[in-house]
């Protein structure tokens, strides 16, 4: 076993390795085999290392080893203005940058005490729900691929491509959008946006039927999903699970319903709940969630023409003045200069906002100290918390079941390490 220490490569004995892993978990028996799974293992969905203690092929103990993608987002944001910090949130959960943007922006708006106009809120909701579908499509494709169902991966990525095209249309970027800004949006959506989303709403329900048709009656898929990785509702709450992992265990909890943000309180949608608590329950929760997201998008699209045209807050203290005013108004130039050099100042105090991201509860905690830079930024990322339950979920199961469990918790390592 070779591990690099500093500039040289040192050889480590088995005893030393055992001692090292003993700090991560308690090794039950000296007879058992220790196995390091990852960080380059394809089914860990990123750079996650799992230390397994195996009795035959049975998992006795498991410890996650994370931090391979740690980039110090929280520290870096302390040295940036509130608007500049936004671009770093895209890079945390790289499968759902819109949701991360939203969580951070809502926290900034709460700290400042401002609210965006209805049109901006509706467009945010449309994009966030599309992001939820695209994130679930990646989850569906990759976790089914882990369970040897190849076909669904290609179909899922075809539809995800369409969603990313819509994002490129509105934000100019497919992934790292940074589209939501304090007080509204970067710019209004283009004219083609409505047709593109309507077209998506037209073809998507049948496509979800297709995915389900490929998996629902697939005996191999069902055998590997049913009664695997079971967790009760009570344990799920104690382990802090959120999102489909919690709802798959029979707990009816969705931030969009319980602590409504944006205009979710005006929307008519259901929260899918399953009661088995196994991998299959989490699978069906997410599949049903995609259909509910389509319902929300449709209602938002119907409401969009009925609200005002403003997509940004009319307050130059927080929102940069439009380009057209810069040639005519001295005040606009001053505000523009102030906002892009110093940025707006946030009051002293704390703000905490929770949103329902595709993976679960995403919380942003901000501490303002009266300057234009946050004194402390903290993210409660759902993957980080959900990961901690994997050792419990996979206890006394086989290594093959662990693959299904990792897939079903839907972790994103960029978000865990941030």
């Amino acid at each position: 076993m070779l591990v690099p220490t500093g500039d040289t490569v040192a050889e480590v004995t088995v005893e030393e390795l055992r001692a090292k892993m003993g700090t991560l978990m308690e090794i039950e028996s000296e007879e058992n085999m220790l196995l390091s799974m990852g960080p380059q293992h394809p089914s860990t969905h990123g750079v996650l290392r799992l230390l397994l203690e195996l009795d035959g092929e049975k998992i006795v103990n498991l410890a996650p080893d994370i931090g391979f993608l740690h980039t110090g987002v929280e520290k870096s944001m302390e040295s940036k203005t509130y608007v500049k910090g936004l671009v770093m949130t895209d890079r945390m959960d790289y499968l759902a940058p819109m949701s991360n943007n939203l969580g951070y922006i809502l926290a900034v708006e709460k700290l400042l005490g401002i609210e965006s106009p209805p049109r901006a809120q509706l467009i945010r909701m449309i994009l966030v729900e599309m992001q939820r579908i695209s994130s679930h499509l990646v989850w569906l494709g990759t976790s089914a691929l882990d369970l040897a169902a190849m076909t669904v991966f290609l179909y899922a990525f075809r539809e995800r491509e369409y969603i990313l095209d819509v994002f490129e249309m509105v934000a100019g970027q497919r992934m790292m959008v940074s589209y939501f800004r304090p007080g509204g949006l970067w710019r209004d959506v283009p004219a083609e946006f409505e047709d593109a989303v309507r077209e998506f709403l037209r073809f998507m329900p049948a496509r979800i039927d297709d995915y389900e048709g490929l998996l629902k009656n697939n005996p191999i898929f069902l055998k590997r999903c049913k009664d695997v990785g079971v967790i009760s509702g009570e344990d799920a709450i104690s382990w802090g699970l959120t999102g489909a992992c919690l709802r798959g265990s029979g707990v009816d909890w969705d931030i969009r319903k319980k602590f409504p943000y944006l205009m979710y309180d005006q929307m008519d949608f259901e929260v899918p709940v399953e009661y088995e608590g196994d991998v299959y329950a989490r699978y069906s929760c997410r599949m049903r969630e995609m259909r509910e997201s389509l319902r929300i998008i449709e209602q938002c699209m119907d409401m969009l023409p009925k609200v005002g045209k403003e997509f940004n807050l009319d307050d130059w203290k927080f929102v940069p003045p439009p380009r057209s005013t810069l040639g005519q108004s001295m005040e606009a130039v001053i505000h523009h200069f102030k906002l892009w050099t110093e940025g707006f100042k946030a009051p002293e105090g704390y703000a905490k906002v929770s949103i329902e991201s595709p993976r679960g509860e995403f919380m942003c905690y901000l501490r303002g100290d009266g300057t234009s830079k946050p004194a402390r930024v903290h993210f409660r990322t759902p993957s980080y918390v959900n990961l901690a339950a994997i050792p419990t979920l996979s206890k006394d199961l086989y290594v093959a079941d662990l693959i299904a469990i990792i897939g079903s918790t839907d972790i994103v390592l960029g978000e865990i390490d941030r």
């Binding site: 690099p4 740690h70 104690s238 802090g240 909890w253 905690y365 501490r367 402390r376 903290h378 409660r380």
Partner: protein
């Protein structure tokens, strides 16, 4: 009686001198308590029939460098039955002697405390698995502290390439406060 007042009155009822101050900002309740009461108050909040704060959202460490006490730990608690969130906060005078762990109340709390320990350097009494989580195990210092420098890499040009290469901070190479 709304949930905010209920929380305060219940804590005062059980621990009369625990609460240091309470604050409301942007409709969020923050209850600051003394460090030694953290475990007791959390247990009360979780088990009381009217409160039932059964879900812990997050534990966050804060650093107010020039002030004393310098550190603070915030527990974001939620009652799923009452649909209510609030923040329980405690000031920490000595980061090496932090509050008592609440890992026995919520299973996830140990994992959340590990993050606070790794990045902010506040240790929790009785948390047995405090170790480096995100950072390499030989890392020195706790990066989220305010006195920890951000660190920039100098740009290498052809005339000073070797001089900068020599002191470039690579993982594993000891740096920052290294006595040896």
């Amino acid at each position: 009686m709304n949930h905010n007042d209920l929380v305060i009155s219940k804590i005062t009822g059980a621990f009369p001198d625990a609460i240091e101050e309470t604050g409301m900002f942007r409709d969020e309740l923050t209850v600051t308590i003394l460090q030694e009461y953290v475990h007791g108050v959390c247990k009360l909040l979780r088990d009381d029939e009217d409160l039932k704060y059964n879900f812990i959202i997050d534990i966050v460490g804060d650093d107010y460098l020039p002030e004393y006490p310098r550190f603070a730990v915030s527990y974001h608690l939620r009652s799923m039955g009452n649909v209510h969130d609030f923040r329980l906060r405690t000031m920490v005078e000595d980061p090496d002697e932090g509050p008592k762990t609440i890992g026995d109340l919520w299973k996830i709390a140990t994992w959340l405390e590990m993050e606070v320990y790794d990045l902010m350097g506040i240790s929790f009494e009785g948390n047995g698995s405090q170790r480096r989580l995100f950072l390499p195990e030989d890392w020195v210092g706790h990066p989220l502290r305010k006195d920890y420098p951000l660190g920039y890499e100098e740009v290498q040009f052809s005339f000073n390439y070797d001089a900068i290469q020599e002191k470039k901070p690579y993982a594993g190479r000891r740096q920052l406060g290294d006595e040896s």
